[in-house]
Amino acid sequence: MIKQDVFVEAITETIQNHPLTPKDLKRWFYGSIMEGVNLQSFTRENDARNKVEGISSDSFLALTLESVVHFYYLIKEKNDKNEFEEESWDLIQIMKHPEINASLYFRTHSEKLIQAIDIAVKYLYQMDMIPDNLTQEQSILLNKVFSDIEEAKEIDKIKINYKTINSCILDILDGTQLKNQRTSYLIDGNLSAAQDIGKIRTNQEDSVLIMSHPELPEFKFLAVSDGMGGVEYGEKASNYTVKKLSEWFSSLPKHFYYDSTLVAEKLNDKIQEISQEIYSTFNQERLCSGATLVTAVVTKEDTLISNIGDSRAYVVNESDITLITEDESMAYLFRKQKGEIEQSILDDLRFARNGSVILRCMGMENVGEPQFYSISNHSYDKLLLFSDGVTDALATDRIRVIAQNTSSSKIANLLVQEAVNQDAVRKQGEDINHYGKVVAGHDNATAAVYDNREYRRK
């Protein structure tokens, strides 16, 4: 076993002799922990490479976690408020937990590993690596972390079935999702969702699904479906839609991950089939059950987005927010025909008089092909799906600010809470068609978020 200080010296030597950017360093750490160490990545200077021969990915993990511990106590001591404070506090709570093996945790929750590496790299670049004095609390914590790493060496070839640990699917299956006043889900580190019934409605008609493929955790599926407002059985249509989609995605052969065109074909068939089933189950007599549907499938190279109705998909990166889908609503169609659809106009639609009339929904006979979009996984950091309870209440730029500046597991919750608690108001000005007030919490609000930063880092 290589001594930690020899390893740290070799890392320092490498950083000093090669122009590694923080991004390069993060990639190096992430790859070394998750996929194994490549000795060639160490510098030959001062014999550094030879000294670390036989090194394992445990050393990279140990250094990462050690740096987070040092960083956390440093900012605590300085009372230094910064963007990493909250994240490092979260990570420290995990490391301290007596029932949790920290090594296993970070290897099975890759989004948390990325957070840890972010902090560690910041620390490695800015400060001396090993502080002179450790507090007693700090030493106890470090001992626990190192013994967790030793202990976890025992575990080999761990495989987790990501369907069985999914609280979102279980809530869909037993119907509790439609009964909760307020709920949130965090699945597999980088998928999260939140819902709120709002202040006026008495039932939750939105349904949300976030899941990883049972045999391939990086293969993701997200869906938001908004049971049509006031329509009887609306929630049944949305619940039925996501339930059927969860069965569909679970049973999809895992090689589909490598081919988004195949996924699009199958998803297109499935969506039309589900719509037809809702039509024949609920609607032939009553003609009154429907739901919107926006979905996203994360495959190896691309993210595939589909849409029916007026729920929306956005992507966010460091600088921008982009709306991917088109609303299938009267208000949107009207503006589009006038050639007016731009980012800024979208915020006006919230105040449009015919804003909530939609042109197409799940539950129609012959609903037709959904809108399909394919976007490169290299092009975005975070993917957001919303029911109109969120997008009617919040301006696009507000969504962007929250999405860019919040740790990803909290974005969905924060957006939904703001959407149901703050009125959106626009005074009558030059625009006589788009003014008024969107009363806070008048509708159910749902958000689903996928954090893609891990992918971009690879």
């Binding site: 995990i94 937990h97 029932e99 949790i100 093996n101 296993l104 945790y105 099975t108 929750h109 060496k153 025992e154 575990i155 080999d156 070839k157 761990i158 495989k159 987790i160 079935n161 369907k163 069985t164 640990i165 999914n166 609280s167 279980l170 889900y185 965090l186 699945i187 580190g189 049972p214 045999e215 679970s250 597991s409």
Partner: protein, 95 residues
């Protein structure tokens, strides 16, 4: 990994269960499997069971150490979800 296990109870009735996770031990070289039928007990915890998988057959786990390991893995995987799972003594006929 196959996601499902089929198990028969003492009266010969078979039941399909979902696998939660599998892993191997470097020291004992055994393969462990933890599975669930999603049934809930009185406090809302989801019932699950663990066994050793050997040549396609399930064998009861007997040592306290192995059970502690499995509990720790379960806690670690579940920490970010709201779900509560509880490992019970095997009441299925494993042969």
């Amino acid at each position: 990994m196959s996601e499902k296990l089929t198990i028969s109870n003492t009266s010969g009735k078979s039941k399909e269960l979902d696998i939660l996770f599998t892993f191997e031990s470097r020291s004992t070289k055994k393969k462990y499997v933890t599975y669930t039928d999603y049934s809930k007990d009185s406090d809302g915890s989801i019932n699950c069971w663990s066994s050793i998988l050997e040549n396609g057959k399930l064998i009861s786990i007997e040592t306290e150490e192995e059970l502690q390991w499995i509990n720790k893995i379960l806690e670690t995987i579940m920490v970010s979800t709201k779900l509560k799972y509880r490992i019970n003594q095997t009441d299925y006929n494993l042969n």
